[in-house]
Symmetry: C2
Subunit: 139 residues, 2 copies
């Protein structure tokens, strides 16, 4: 038995790839357009970790997906949480829970999927602008 | 960068472990009771695949989590989809989408988290009772 992926539905495929690929740094593994079903599947994974994927389901005629409380978040180890959060800010992403502790941050996809970022290994030394950055919204 | 886990919230920890461990076959990796925050975290994974986990968050004073459409499902490769589905039925689980095609099934956790089971390798030869088993509910 083996974990394959977590599937999430996305309202806007371009906006979602900007978030998951350009900002978060996942890479595209494969993509399938199913004309008959009017949907597109895109499989993503962290670089070098293709055994655990995220499947984006983009239904061409559906959007505006709501969030539920039963699903919490996806979590990733990252090499440098400050560098990644700064890169995401530069890409226009809100850091809902900034890494004030040098260890943990939360961001959200365009469809409200919460993503936890955890610094690999020891927490980084505390530093600005992170120490003073307040929470924004929920995650 | 590396995928760590998908977190889901559970209303009833015992019922959830019956589903995820006794029925689905995941194994418990670790558990943490946080008295101060009044919650328990349980980390599970497929046998032999501890790099990709499911984190169950059990808040002691909260239950009745709703589902949203932005989250789709968790997916696992399984060695024998018929044997696993029969085992789950024996454990009292409804197979929402039976493996009529010898390849794919869907079940749901007590909190409505959808789980996709995919036969590893080639689809199994079609056989009863699966061929005639109707869908039940949503997944």
């Amino acid at each position: 038995m083996k974990y394959l992926h977590t599937m999430v539905r996305v309202s806007d495929l371009d906006a979602s790839l900007k978030f998951y690929v350009d900002a978060l740094g996942l890479v595209e593994h494969s993509r399938r357009d199913v004309e008959a079903g009017r949907f597109t599947l895109v499989f993503l994974h962290a670089p070098g970790d293709e055994g655990a994927q995220v499947e984006l389901t983009y239904n061409w005629d559906e959007s505006g997906y709501d969030s539920g409380r039963n699903f919490g978040h996806l979590a990733y180890h990252v090499d440098d949480i400050y560098a990644l959060c700064q890169h995401m800010i530069n890409q226009g992403i809100t850091i809902n829970r900034p890494p004030r502790d040098g260890r943990m941050a939360f961001v959200k996809s365009p469809d409200g999927i919460s993503i936890e970022l955890l610094q690999k290994g020891e927490a980084l030394p505390l530093q600005e602008p992170w120490i003073s950055m307040p929470n924004e919204g929920t995650w």
